[in-house]
């Protein structure tokens, strides 16, 4: 088992003197290869900040982060861009597809940027599209397809370059429950079959119940951690809800 993410004492402080806000306070995180980890917490707990720091979009104030054996703290802009392209995959709540490109072009974008051979591209795109069931819409533009299809396109784009780590920020936030379930099933499949390492930020207990392990943070600090173990998804869902109600300020249905 390789360790994909190894973060130690991450601290992120916003603002200047006199008006300091600590978003992350000494967080430690370790994720193994093939793990599907959820991060939960109330609004403002620092979930997204943590994800952004791990995604190299944001720099931590202090602390050390190793992803797939590489330290990302001291990289410069150029190196970070290359690193994101080669090692990371992203899925966002609002899809972030380019509306000027077709579904297919959106998916191959990371590979095109890495200047992969066009024949290889075509091959990979079909493979990934089949996995997510979007082969029939490859030539459509984003404005012609549904939200669920958009998110599956985004997911395809995220995994086409076979990243070491897949980061998902509220991917089900804008989806109806059917599309959300489909997507979560696909992600679970990826983690189980393809040994993809996934980090999922969500405040939806249902989405979190698909994870192997859920980390709860509150006010920038690690609150607790739940491991699914051998129980069923329903039992795990209930456990997650229990923690959330203890955490307070989480889901409305947990009050």
């Amino acid at each position: 088992m390789r360790t994909i993410v190894n973060a130690k004492n991450i601290k992120k402080v916003y603002g200047t003197k006199g008006n300091v806000f600590t978003a992350l306070d000494n967080i430690d995180l370790e994720v193994q290869e093939g793990e599907f980890v959820g991060i939960m917490g109330p609004s403002g707990a620092g979930k997204s900040t943590l994800l952004n720091v791990l995604a190299t979009i944001d720099q931590p104030t202090s602390g050390d982060i190793n992803i797939d054996g590489t330290s990302i703290v001291n990289m410069n802009e150029e190196q970070l861009a290359a690193f994101r392209r080669d090692k990371l995959g992203f899925i966002f709540q609002d899809y972030n597809l380019l509306d000027t490109l077709t579904v297919k072009e959106n998916i191959i974008l990371p590979l095109a940027l890495a200047k992969v051979d066009p024949n290889e591209l075509e091959h990979r795109v079909l493979e990934v599209a089949n996995k997510f069931g979007i082969s029939p819409i490859l030539d459509k533009y984003p404005y012609q397809i549904s939200g669920g299809q958009k998110q599956r396109t985004a997911a395809s784009r995220a995994i086409i370059s076979k990243p070491s780590l897949l980061l998902a920020d509220e991917p089900t936030g804008a989806l109806d429950s059917k599309s959300a379930t489909d997507l979560l099933e696909s992600l679970k499949g990826l983690s189980e079959v393809d040994k993809a390492t996934i980090l999922l930020v969500t405040h939806d207990a249902f989405a979190a119940s698909y994870c192997d392990r859920v980390i709860f943070i509150k006010d920038g600090k690690m609150f607790t951690e739940l491991v699914k173990g051998k129980g069923s998804r329903k039992e795990f869902f209930q456990k997650v809800l229990d923690v959330l109600s203890a955490l307070g300020g989480g889901q409305s249905d947990s009050i």
Binding site: E77, E78, A81, F83, D99, P110, A112, L113, V116
Partner: protein, 616 residues
């Protein structure tokens, strides 16, 4: 708006400036030119203001929608926008007039410099110019304010909110339309080069030319560019290579909305380049033209010996302009016929002017030009008539038949020369014959003697010219270099100024249009670039693709504009007789270069602004 007021005010105040009015001796033509210039300016300024106005209202639709949502009555919002616009317009007029006053002094100095007149420019405010400017801009301002007032009534609330999301869809193209664009532009070029046989045909041709070039250019941007980009897309090795994927698709996506702007820019560039080139050419070629028309500083026909002496004394007494050379040129006027129909058409009935080889050689040497022609027997040499493009080939192997009182003699042309020694007078058909033949003819017909003086610094011989003009009678056909040079300089300098001024305005406007457009687009594109950054595109790569896109948007209309401009110039040089036979390469190259440099400035300005917008 401020910019427009400054330009307009500067121009109008020039028109009323006493220095400029005084400096021009032919006032009527000046006034006409200025009035024509200001009409073009008003039109242009109005279009420009309306354009930028619609640009800003598009940006504010959302804000207006929000007011409406918050429960403001339509009437109140309308009034608010109306007053806002009026106040802004008022402030713009005030600032514009102040800046314009400062600038107009500068421009007055430029005009006077171009006219070569050293005059102290006083600093004054012209009331008429201010009134003129205020009236024009109040009207425009009222119009835009009224437009703003109507904004809220024109759109439904939901449309106001959707304004910024109005998506451009991936454009379709058609091969036929792409081809049509090339055919139309080709057709317009072809028709431009047709020499019309009548005035009506000229107008028809001009109309056809304008329509086909405008439509052709539009189709070119609307379809041909898309077609080319689509072809690029099909080349996977190019398209799937790095940021090309993003750049090409982005351009494709945008070109629909940009086709009109790009067309306007290309056409304006063409007009600007050709207008300034023509103006500059007139100015640039003026001295050469004057030298051809009046080879010597002073020339007149000798009629009365005492008057001749008087004139000679007057010229001698001008110590600032010592005489470099003085010659009597005997000219024989004879009727005749040329065997080349082309030349005969030009000659028609008019007399042929005959000069002897000795006189010709001597006169040219006096003008510091090499000349050593030697003729014998019935050989003759033609001199190129002014404002024509005849070449030696039109003369060689042709003959000319001269009608002497008692017989006809036939001479054979051996070649044609360009250097002229006698003043222009239609028909300008001069030939040089051998000394022997000349004296033979002279025994039968008395030659007319043209007295010619060449002095130093002939450009500034105003005083002597005026004095001689008083002495000489009409019949003496006095021709002075100063008068001709001065006339050319006045019209040339003024043309250059007005065309240059309008060109500058066009250039500033086209630059601003692209700048605004690119900046709005950059604003819309921010989220896209944000996504790319997250996916792992480095700043350097992002900047590179931005640069490529902007180069495309700037470069394409510039190239098309320059090509159109050059073609228009070719056509113009066929229409304006003065430009015939002039080498315009240098003025054209200089104009294009200057245009290009200013345009480049806009490019860098836009690039920096777009980069800042995207990277923030």
């Amino acid at each position: 708006m401020v910019f427009s007021v400054v330009i307009y005010y500067t121009f109008v105040s020039l028109q009323y400036s006493p220095e400029v009015q005084m400096a021009i001796e032919s006032e009527n033509s000046l006034l006409n030119i200025f009035i024509a210039g200001s009409v073009v300016l008003i039109l242009f300024v109005a279009i420009f203001i309306l354009y930028s106005n619609s640009f800003f209202t598009k940006k504010r639709k959302r804000e207006v929608g929000l007011y409406s949502l918050l429960g403001l009555r339509k009437k109140t919002i309308g009034k608010m926008l109306f007053y806002e616009n009026i106040i802004m317009g008022g402030i713009a007029i005030i600032i514009g007039v102040i800046l314009g006053t400062i600038l107009s002094k500068l421009f007055t100095m430029i005009v006077l410099r171009l006219l070569d007149t050293p005059v102290e420019v006083s600093f004054e405010v012209s009331i008429e110019a201010i009134l003129n400017t205020i009236i024009v801009f109040m009207i425009i301002s009222l119009f835009t304010s009224f437009n703003a007032y109507r904004l809220i009534y024109r759109f439904k609330l939901i449309e106001l909110f959707r304004a910024e999301k109005e998506g451009e869809h991936a454009p379709r193209t058609s091969f036929i339309a792409a081809i049509t664009s090339i055919i139309l532009i080709g057709f317009s070029y072809w028709i431009g080069f047709q020499s019309p046989t009548s005035d009506v045909q000229l107008l028809v041709n001009l109309g056809l030319y304008l329509i086909s070039i405008v439509v052709g250019t539009y189709l070119l941007f609307r379809f041909l560019t898309i077609y080319i980009l689509r072809q690029l897309q099909k080349k996977k090795t190019i398209y799937y290579n790095g940021t090309n994927l993003v750049g090409i698709s982005q351009l494709l996506y945008r070109i629909n909305g940009n086709a009109r702007t790009l067309t306007i820019i290309a056409l304006l560039s063409a007009v600007t380049i050709s207008a300034i080139s023509v103006g500059y050419s007139f100015y640039y070629t003026n001295e050469k033209q004057a030298e051809k028309e009046a080879p010597f500083s002073y020339m007149h026909i000798s009629l009365d010996e005492s008057v001749d002496k008087h004139i000679e004394k007057t010229i001698q007494s001008d110590t600032e302009h010592p005489i470099n050379g003085q010659i009597d040129i005997p000219v024989i006027n004879l009727n005749g016929e040329v065997s080349n129909p082309l030349l005969q058409d030009y000659l028609e009935e008019g007399p042929i002017k005959i000069i002897s080889e000795n006189t010709y050689n001597e006169a040219l040497r006096m003008l510091d030009r090499e000349s050593n022609i030697q003729l014998s027997g019935n050989q003759t040499i033609g001199i190129q008539p002014l404002l024509t493009e005849y070449t030696s080939a039109d003369y060689e192997e042709h003959t000319i038949t001269l009608q002497l009182p008692n017989k006809e003699i036939e001479l054979a042309f051996s070649s044609m020369l360009e250097d002229r020694i006698i003043p222009w007078n239609y028909p300008d058909f001069n030939i040089v014959v051998s000394n022997q033949l000349f004296s033979e003819i002279a025994t039968q017909i008395t030659p007319v003697t043209i007295k010619a003086y060449e002095v130093a610094n002939e450009k500034s011989t105003k005083d002597t010219t005026v004095q001689i003009q008083k002495i000489a009678s009409e019949d003496m056909q006095l021709t002075t270099f100063y008068n001709i040079y001065r006339k050319g300089l006045e019209s040339g300098g003024l043309n250059l100024f007005i065309l240059g001024f309008l060109g500058l305005v066009f250039l500033a406007a086209t630059g601003s249009i692209i700048y605004f457009k690119q900046l709005t687009e950059a604003h819309d594109d921010r989220s896209r670039y944000e996504v790319l950054r997250k996916i792992g595109v480095s700043k350097k790569e992002l900047n590179a693709t931005i640069r490529k896109q902007i180069i495309f948007v700037f470069g394409l209309p510039l190239i098309i504009g320059i090509i159109h401009g050059i073609v228009i110039l070719q056509i113009a040089s066929n229409i304006f007789s003065v430009l015939i036979g002039m080498n315009l390469t240098i003025p054209i190259v200089i104009t294009i270069l200057v245009y290009f440099i200013i345009y480049l400035g806009y490019y860098f300005l836009t690039l920096t602004s777009v980069k800042n917008t995207v990277n923030n």
